[in-house]
């Protein structure tokens, strides 16, 4: 998955930059190595090493144009918050090593599984997942993500959004099921803590996404919202929930990558990513517009895209475990995020909606973005259009693979079978799977899945049209500016100052730690 996206980004960037420093390609490949290693390692300290490698490559790629102030500031926010997270993780790993004398996940898991969990194990768990929560941009640790995306080169955004954030969540799932699962005893309360975090992230991300006008930041907030949904899928602690998350991550990664690449084309041709300024100016980019719109519909979970399948699985699993409201949250967030992206598509590529009033500030902000790309803006090179088109096609085809659901669910059962993992790693036992550690759930595509997917896509379309034509609605005509009263507090909240971000990290950790302490008592 990571390699597919790196390839797409590399082909795209072939013609994208006007002068590519040689270190760009090396850094991209190091980034890929970090991500692959992170997935494959079975050792908790190596997990940290790959995590840092991934992080360092990403910081350097974000600050690709260090001569610009914004770029440096965004990368610095990203680097500081993620470094704090990495050190917290390292402290947690040190504590757990001091307790068990082992760094292999299976060994640690076996050791602490034999003893009743105590304070030290809980603190170590909290510290280790702290770094991963920051990496995966879960509210209130999400602040760095939008800043980093706004300034990073577009092909890098593809990787940050499509893979790295999801890998943070993978790390949480891995650490939970391979190390701490038996010790913490799979308690419903822990699941509820993560469920709450996930829902909060999904809702906050979607709301911020809808009010954003900077297209890259908008897509970044949509990623935050989806990260929240993925966390909900993991927090259900069921094989079907995890399988749904996997499918959802694949679909979302492909679709989001296509959206970012299309944004890159817009930036290349028109020299801006400001939605207000771009209004109607993208009409000539027909192919890009079609791909962007399809990808936006995919983001809004329209069947046959893989996103709809993944979300359907998570919904089914939540429904089966007595959490029917999860479906409502998911639909609302999909509608908000998808509606925002479709609004961009309609406004920029088809000139729909009322033209916004020209704002001199906007033009100024739009002019800031130009230096990233080539000066030849007359046509779009084929190498830039084909990758996003292929990615969208993949996202649609993935969901049509027969027996995908069963295969992924079997993989999820293996992933969650900690005893089996320990036996395989420590004694070399060969376990035949799937073992019935949890009842398998039906992976058929139900009518509800199709209905909710189509429903949220239609809802997104309706919302997008409302957002484009809101000035004509009689209710809102009287000088009402959506969210006008909210701008100041939101800007204070999302200040761009790294001090505030770290304050939020410490506060968030204190709250989660307090909840865990209450649970463990």
């Amino acid at each position: 998955m990571a390699a597919v996206l790196v390839t797409a980004a590399m082909i795209f960037s072939w013609r994208y930059f006007h002068r590519v420093a040689t270190y760009y390609h090396a850094l991209m490949l190091i980034f890929l190595a970090g991500m692959t290693g992170f997935c494959l390692t079975g050792d908790i300290f190596d997990l940290f090493v790959w995590f840092e490698l991934m992080g360092v490559a990403a910081y350097a790629l974000t600050a690709y144009r260090p001569e610009e102030r914004g770029s440096l500031q965004g990368a610095l926010n990203f680097a500081v918050t993620n470094s704090v997270g990495a050190y917290l993780s390292l402290s947690g790993i040190g504590l757990i090593y001091g307790r068990t004398g082992a760094l292999n996940m299976a060994q640690i898991g076996t050791y602490i599984g034999r003893h009743p969990p105590d304070g030290l194990v809980a603190v170590a768990f909290l510290l280790i997942i702290a770094g991963l929560l920051i990496k995966s941009a879960i509210v209130p640790f999400h602040f760095w993500l939008a800043d980093a995306h706004a300034v990073a080169p577009t092909p890098v955004c593809v990787l940050l959004s499509g893979v790295m954030v999801e890998l943070g969540l993978y790390g949480i799932a891995r650490v939970y099921w391979s190390v701490f699962g038996l010790a913490l005893g799979h308690r419903a309360a822990i699941s509820h803590v993560f469920l709450a975090l996930g829902v909060l992230t999904a809702v906050v991300g979607a709301l911020f996404c809808f009010r954003e006008r900077h297209v890259k930041r908008l897509l970044a907030f949509s990623t935050i919202s989806h990260a929240g949904m993925f966390l909900v899928g993991i927090a259900l602690l069921t094989p079907l929930g995890l399988a749904g998350t996997t499918v959802y991550v694949i679909g979302h990664g492909l679709v989001k990558a296509a959206l970012f690449l299309c944004t890159g084309i817009v930036l290349h041709r028109l020299g801006s990513v400001n939605e207000t300024w771009l209004h109607g100016r993208g009409r000539r980019l027909r192919a890009t517009g079609v791909v962007f719109t399809l990808a936006a519909l995919g983001l809004a979970d329209l069947p046959p895209f893989a996103t709809f399948l993944g979300k359907g699985y998570i919904d089914d699993s939540a429904w089966a475990h007595g959490l029917p409201w999860v479906m409502g949250v998911f639909i609302a967030c999909s509608i908000l995020a998808g509606g925002a992206v479709l609004r961009v598509a309609g406004g920029v590529f088809y000139g729909l909606g009322d033209p916004p009033s020209e704002d001199p500030e906007m033009a100024e902000m739009a002019a800031e973005e130009t230096s990233e790309t080539d000066s030849d803006k007359r046509r779009t090179p084929l190498t830039m259009v084909i990758p996003p088109a292929l990615l969208v096609a993949c996202a649609a085809v993935v969901a049509l693979i027969p027996r995908l659901g069963q295969v992924v669910q079997a993989a999820a059962i293996r992933f969650e079978d900690q005893a089996g993992y320990n036996a395989t790693v420590l004694t070399g036992a060969h376990i035949f799977h799937p073992v019935a550690i949890a009842a398998t759930e039906s992976t058929g595509i139900t009518v509800t899945d199709v209905l909710t997917g189509t429903g949220s896509a239609i809802g997104s379309l309706v919302l997008a049209f409302l957002a484009l034509y809101w000035r004509r609605l009689p209710l809102l005509r009287r000088g009402y500016e959506p969210g006008a009263g909210l701008t100041a507090p939101i800007q204070r909240f999302q200040s761009g100052v790294v001090n505030d971000y770290v304050t939020w990290i410490v506060l968030g950790l204190a709250v989660i730690g307090g909840m865990l302490a209450l649970i463990m008592r």
Binding site: F45, L76, V84, Y87, Y97, A102, L103, V498, N499
Partner: protein, 72 residues
């Protein structure tokens, strides 16, 4: 005395984070980040000291060596 290094590590972590939060100068902020980083060194040293110090030579050969060299 057994808990002393951990208390020190937690203290360094705390003041480092406090420094990051209150810093108004980027170089100062990075310095505080390095303070946070050094808390992990103290912690790791504390962990290593506790595991290795009290064992005699005979004990050490009998005890299973910490698993990380094998698992890396």
């Amino acid at each position: 005395m057994q808990y002393f290094p951990f208390v020190v590590a937690a203290w360094i972590l705390g003041i480092g984070l406090y420094g990051i939060v209150t810093s108004r100068h980027l170089v100062h902020l990075i310095m505080c980040l390095i303070v946070v980083q050094s808390s992990t060194y103290v912690l790791l040293l504390g962990v290593g000291y506790v595991t290795g110090a009290a064992t005699s030579r005979r004990d050490r050969s009998a005890r299973a060596w910490p698993a990380w060299p094998r698992c890396l």
